[in-house]
């Protein structure tokens, strides 16, 4: 379970970088987009620490702006380093996904045969 959570966190980091690369946005909206994409069990409690970690790593830049509800909220955008990490994630993800797909496709074809 712990390993699954770690893997999920890694994948989420990549997804969050991708979402933020498309437009400057804030934590709550990032979470909504992830839920809409099918990560139905994801909540702000998971996304918020990831955003902080990415900001600390220097991959995201945050700017505080007023929100309609009163307190200021952080809007994030990708830094150059963040952009590089995003590209690297896409590369690794595509490779990994290809390999995993290959293994499962082979298994499915063996079962059918």
């Amino acid at each position: 379970m712990a390993k699954q959570t770690q893997m999920l966190k890694g994948v989420l980091e990549g997804c969050i970088l991708e979402i933020i690369s498309q437009e400057e946005t804030y934590g709550y909206a990032v979470c909504e987009q992830l839920v809409q994409a099918g990560f139905s069990h994801i909540n702000e409690g998971i996304v918020y620490p990831i955003l902080i970690r990415l900001e600390k790593k220097g991959w995201l830049l945050a700017e505080k702006r007023p929100s309609p509800y009163g307190p200021k909220r952080k809007y994030y955008r990708l830094t150059e380093m963040g952009e590089r990490e995003r590209n690297e994630f896409i590369l690794h993800w595509t490779e990994t996904k290809g390999r995993v797909d290959q293994i499962f496709e082979r298994r499915i074809s063996d079962e059918n045969a």
């Binding site: 934590g27 909540n43 409690g45 620490p49 902080i52 600390k56």
Partner: protein
């Protein structure tokens, strides 16, 4: 919306804190006057300064909490409770105050939006608040535990020694400035203040103003602990005729910073602690 009961509770806590500070100060001051027939040994003045600082810190925490209540007024009870639970974990951590404020502001923005969407706090941060708080602290590179408490208390202790040196050394010529001697009992009392009284007051006062009555009692215990420390020393004084080691201990004097290099080392030590705290957080110095 803050209730009348909450208002009264906070006013009451302020009055209690103020009274305890005043009584402790008077008690200590009085003991110095009766012992030496006049004020001016320095001990009473230093103790009064320390108490005034502790009292001031309590006032600051109180007013910070008051403005916090104003900020959280639109948050419903269940969300307020969840926010308090998370912030309680943050308060006990080694986070900087500005980081705590940042987290609270950010969580408040998230909570208000979720509240507007008709969601429950559990759907926002999960059922396990402690796990969420742990994730948050890890994201900030925090290592919670006894080390942060020890480092902060040591910082306080060295600060007191520097105050003593500055006070006892004043008025002397540059050659005699160093090596001011201080009673062992004062050093013990400063240790008590740094490692017991102040951490208790800090921990308790934040809990009290956040409405955590049980935790808030720590603030009162903090002040009372100072009286206990003073009481132990006064007790030793009362028994010194009968207990030889007590009179030896109370008669002892220690040179705080005999040489300039010792003073420099103390300052470097404080800087070292600040650096160590930052290093432990795996992040560069700001």
């Amino acid at each position: 919306m803050k209730t009348r009961r909450e208002k009264m509770k906070k006013s009451f806590s302020l009055v209690i804190a103020g009274t305890v500070v005043l009584l402790t100060g008077l008690f200590l001051w009085g003991s110095q006057i009766s012992e030496q027939g006049q004020i001016g040994s320095g001990q009473g003045i230093i103790a009064a300064i320390v108490l005034a600082l502790a009292g001031l810190a309590t006032f600051v925490v109180y007013y910070q909490a008051k403005s916090r209540n104003q900020k959280l007024k639109n948050l419903r009870e269940n969300y307020r409770e969840s926010l308090d639970q998370v912030m309680e974990q943050m308060e006990q951590s080694a986070l900087h105050n500005w980081e705590k404020k940042e987290i609270e502001q950010e969580l408040l923005a998230i909570f208000l939006e979720a509240q507007e969407a008709g969601r429950q706090p559990q759907s926002v941060i999960g059922e396990d608040v402690e796990s969420f708080a742990k994730d948050l602290l890890e994201a900030y590179g925090i290592h919670p535990g006894i080390l942060a408490y020890f480092l902060t208390s040591t910082q306080w202790y060295i600060l007191y020694l520097l105050i003593v040196q500055a006070y006892r050394g004043r008025g002397r010529n540059e050659f005699a400035y160093f090596g001011a001697s201080v009673d062992v009992e004062i050093l013990v009392l400063f240790g008590w203040l740094s490692f017991i009284t102040l951490p208790l007051i800090q921990y308790g006062s934040k809990g009290w103003v956040a409405g955590k009555r049980k935790r808030g009692l720590f603030a009162i215990f903090g002040f009372l602990s100072f009286l206990v420390g003073v009481g132990i020393i006064e007790g030793l004084h009362a028994l010194e005729a009968r207990i030889p080691w007590a009179s030896e201990l109370l008669a002892k004097q220690v040179s705080v910073f005999r040489h300039p290099w010792q003073l420099a080392m103390a300052v470097l030590f404080v800087i070292g602690i600040v650096w160590l705290k930052q290093w432990l957080r795996k992040k560069p110095l700001r």
